[in-house]
Amino acid sequence: MINRAFHLVARRIDAPLMVTIALAACLGLLVIYSASGGHSFDRVLGQVRNLGIALAALWVVANIPPQAIMRLAIPVYVGGLLLLIGVALFGEIRNGARRWLNLGFTTIQPSEIMKIAAPLMLAWYFHIHREALRFRHFAVAAVLLAIPVGLIVRQPDLGTAILVFASGFFVIFLAGLSWKVIGALAVGGAASLPLVWGLLHDYQRRRVLTLLDPQQDPLGAGYHIIQSTIAIGSGGILGKGWLEGTQSQLDFIPERSTDFILAVFAEEFGLVGVLLLVTLYLTIVSRGLYIAAKASTPFGRLTAGALTLTFFTYAFVNMGMVSGILPVVGVPLPLMSYGGTALLSIMMGFGILMSIWTHRHLVSS
């Protein structure tokens, strides 16, 4: 009886992925507790609630067969696009950016939806044209991706735009966009950098400049990077110990339970902790890529591959920015940072991965 119940709950869950995710999330709770001063459970309990909701979503999504998910691709994409347009027209402005939409009962951030909707849409598109992919299919896919990315950049929300673009680009890349085109795009992109520079907002330019020389503005834009590198560096190999990080506990690290949680972690747990975290991430990414390789349909392969690569991008961009090799863009550390929205989209992504994995034998190619 208990076995059957367990089977019902767990049959669509991939154990290796789940265990690794759970380890990373627990590590996150530990650091959140430390980052919130080491004497209050408010944030920890909040994150436990976020995790609960996100895991429930993961379970639900994992139980939806890939074909059904594929059928949902268009409605979710179109719906997300409409919400983004809604944001552009009626969105709430917070911190100088128009990112939120008030639905009456709750405020949502539609750009988050696009992190999943865009790759699903492109994967569906390539799936139905799998028989004979031509250059124009890639062109259409590029347009399908450019519309939401453009809307998000305009909000402005560079971090999310990068992630949405990456998630879509990964589908196009995995679908086989020719290397020549990729090379041409890379050259063209590099050539148009000055143009992009001109389009950036002042604060975005400052972030890039600050990355090149944090000391230029030690109390303003450079403060984040300077303080987080000091925290990381002073942690050393073994770290200062849990709750013992001076940079963390004395308020020197800003945003230390959200975007900069890695600085707290690296200060208190040292290089050993960082290597553990990298190992967990590598395990998750390897498993994701394995699932993609074993998927039974192009849609499954492309979706699984793109979602995995997106997860990697999350981790890399955050770790890169906190350690000072990438500009500061608002990207949380996946599974660790405090916050519900990003966690939800990541977990739903894992739900899709698990659905693809556990349904692979049921789908005939």
Binding site: F173, G233, T246, L250, P298, G305, F316, M319, G324
Partner: protein, 631 residues
């Protein structure tokens, strides 16, 4: 489309996908390798660098300011101490609109226009961004009211601070001096002396008087505290503390009771008095009237009070005892007489018949005695007792200015006495060499004649006169006046007596000294110029009156005290020591525009001596003893 074609496509699609996945996997590995390299760089290779930065972030060294030593009089009465009080302070850089905040603050805390002017002055003077006092000595109620409203006033704070307090107010203000906020000139000096570290956190420094001269003893040694601070700069906890060493206490030579008696004795007169214990050089009283309240200076003086003090014609900030240079007048006659005896130019028996005038051969204008018609038969003893000018005109002429200069210099005339506070002026003991240096003119015999009665170029400070008188009282032992007699160590509470710095004994024939001293005793006896001032004294005084001209008089013009405006009246001078046979105190009094020395200055001295020798603490209200003539 055939099934074979479709399968081929499918295989090709799968192959493409797998190769792309492999590329992606390699990129991921490379990316994580890059990250790991970055963390190894930060956490292993650069670890110590970042460790240092983190410690610097976390730990700030806060100076622990030492308490300033207190200043006590010779009997332990407090002249300067530290008093704990609440002050309202503002950090202008954090306060926004200071004026408006002050306006609102004045509704809950009493802030006078004077406080505001003072703050404004401080703001202009100190360009640094520290906190400045708005109001000092808040009451408990005001502190509570501010605490409840603090949120309304960013940049304002109430702090408990130690204040320098001068409980005696104006009494002895010129001797004690005051401390004030460290200004840029002080800062430069501190840095030049290499004491910048010891003054970290210290806001005040001794500016004048004993406070200024004994700054090193009083200040103490600054300690330090390592404090863990958060990013907002708030102190979280103390990690270690090296306690400051409080400044040492000073025990000064002043007798506050005597000082008060002396200041009261001046009444409304401006002037100066210096009383010295001859054996030790201890300055028992140092008066410069009018005085000022040193408490005004501690946290920056407000402009109004400053203008009042600085622009007053009475010049209360001028320390007349050390910096007032006056012609010593007849008070130097005992010294000139001793010079004549020592040089063999006069014998005790030598007598002149004084006609009241004296003429220098070749000079048309005669030199007049202060007494028309002269004093009759005058020998050396009587020349002092009746203060005969004519006697000294001829004597000075025979001695010559350079002999007088040589004789007077060891008494301390013409140079700083070396008292242990700053600001002393040297006076002027003229010589032919000096005149040549100063005016490129040769010395005329006529110049010497007025020098013989303490006029002309001769200038002395009241301190010099007192010290020289003490030398007489000491039978020739040179006296170095001092204001601090002992230092009490702040840690061991041990009292370290400072050595008496009196100099060598000048070689005089004892009978010459005895003669001059006896004559000074006779000055106080019936027939002497200051007899009235010594009436009924329980001890034997020895003294000499003097008068210093303020405006020059034409030959033959009679000086009429009543006709001359108050500010143009003569200065009254008096020197004395007592008891005559075993002097315990020697003093010099100067009353500006006091008229004659016998009428104004001698009674002041009498009251001071009475207090010191007869223990008459309240010698009655000051009564000016009017006496016709003077000296």
């Amino acid at each position: 489309m055939s099934i074979g074609q479709s399968l081929r496509d499918q295989r090709r699609e799968l192959a493409t996908f797998e190769s792309r996945l492999a590329v992606a996997g390699l990129v991921i590995l490379a990316a994580f390798a890059l990250l790991v390299a970055r963390f190894v760089w930060l956490q292993v290779i650069q670890k110590s660098h970042y460790h240092t930065l983190a410690e610097a972030n976390r730990i700030s060294i806060v100076p622990a300011v030492p308490n300033r030593g207190v200043i006590l009089d010779r009997h332990g009465e407090v002249l300067a101490s530290n008093e704990s009080a609440y002050t309202l302070e503002v950090t202008p850089a954090e306060a926004g609109n200071v004026e408006r905040s002050l306006e609102e603050l004045s509704q809950i805390i009493d802030i006078t226009p004077r406080d505001r002017r003072r703050l404004k002055r401080l703001q202009e003077e100190t360009r640094n961004l520290g906190s400045l006092p708005v109001r000092t000595r808040l009451s408990e109620v005001e502190v509570a009211r501010f605490a409840a409203n603090r949120y309304r006033f960013p940049g304002f704070d109430v702090k408990a601070r130690l204040f320098r307090s001068y409980p005696q107010g104006e009494v002895a203000s010129h001797a004690v001096g005051y401390i004030g906020r460290i200004n840029e000139a002080d800062l430069k000096r501190i840095e030049a002396e290499g004491q910048a570290a010891d003054y970290k956190g210290t806001l005040h420094i001794g500016k004048l008087g004993i406070e200024g001269a004994y700054e090193q003893d009083l200040h103490g040694t600054t300690g330090s505290e390592r404090v863990e601070t958060d990013a907002g700069g708030r102190a979280i906890r103390s990690l270690s503390r090296e306690a400051p060493q409080p400044g040492n206490d000073l025990i000064v030579t002043l007798d506050l009771g005597l000082q008060r008696a002396a200041e009261e004795a001046f009444g409304e007169y401006r002037g100066a008095l210096v009383a010295i214990e001859p054996k030790t050089g201890d300055v028992l009283a140092l008066v410069s009237k009018p005085g000022f309240d040193p408490n005004l200076f501690v946290d920056g003086i407000d402009p109004q009070s400053w203008d009042q003090l600085n622009n007053s014609p009475d010049k209360p900030l001028n320390n007349r005892a050390l910096r007032g240079q006056y012609p010593p007048g007849s008070t130097i006659k005992p010294f000139v007489a001793l010079a004549a005896l020592s040089a063999g130019k006069r014998t005790p028996e030598f007598t002149i018949a004084d006609p009241g005038v004296w003429s220098l051969p070749g000079v048309e204008r005669p030199f007049r005695d202060w007494k028309q018609g002269g004093h009759g038969m005058v020998n050396l003893q009587r020349s002092i007792v009746v203060s005969c000018d004519t006697y000294y005109y001829g004597l000075a002429n025979e001695l010559g200015v350079d002999a007088i200069h040589r004789f007077m210099t060891p008494f301390g005339f013409g140079a700083q006495t070396g008292i242990d506070i700053d600001g002393e002026l040297p006076g002027l003991q003229p010589s032919s060499e000096w005149k040549w240096r100063r005016f490129k003119q040769r010395w005329y015999a006529g110049d010497t004649i007025s020098v013989g009665i303490g006029q002309g170029y001769w200038l002395a400070t009241p301190l010099q006169l007192a010290a020289a008188t003490a030398v007489l009282a000491n039978d020739g032992r040179v006296v170095k006046p001092r204001l601090v007699r002992a230092v009490r160590d702040s840690r061991t509470r041990e009292i370290r007596e400072l050595p008496v710095r009196n100099g060598p004994t000048l070689a005089f024939r004892p009978e010459h000294l005895a003669l001059v001293k006896a004559a000074m005793v006779d000055v106080m006896r019936p027939g002497g110029t200051a007899a009235r001032a010594a009436e009924g004294a329980a001890y034997q005084m020895a003294g000499k009156t003097g008068t210093a001209q303020v405006i020059g008089m034409k030959a033959g013009e009679k000086y009429d005290e009543k006709r001359v405006k108050e500010r143009h009246r003569d200065h009254a001078l008096f020197i004395a020591f007592a008891p005559a046979e075993n002097p315990k105190i020697a003093l010099a009094v100067l009353a500006e525009n006091g008229g004659g020395g016998s009428g104004t200055a001698a009674p002041i001295a009498r009251r001071v001596l009475d207090y010191y020798l007869a223990g008459r603490r309240n010698a009655g209200a000051f009564v000016e003893i009017a006496e016709p003539g003077g000296d």
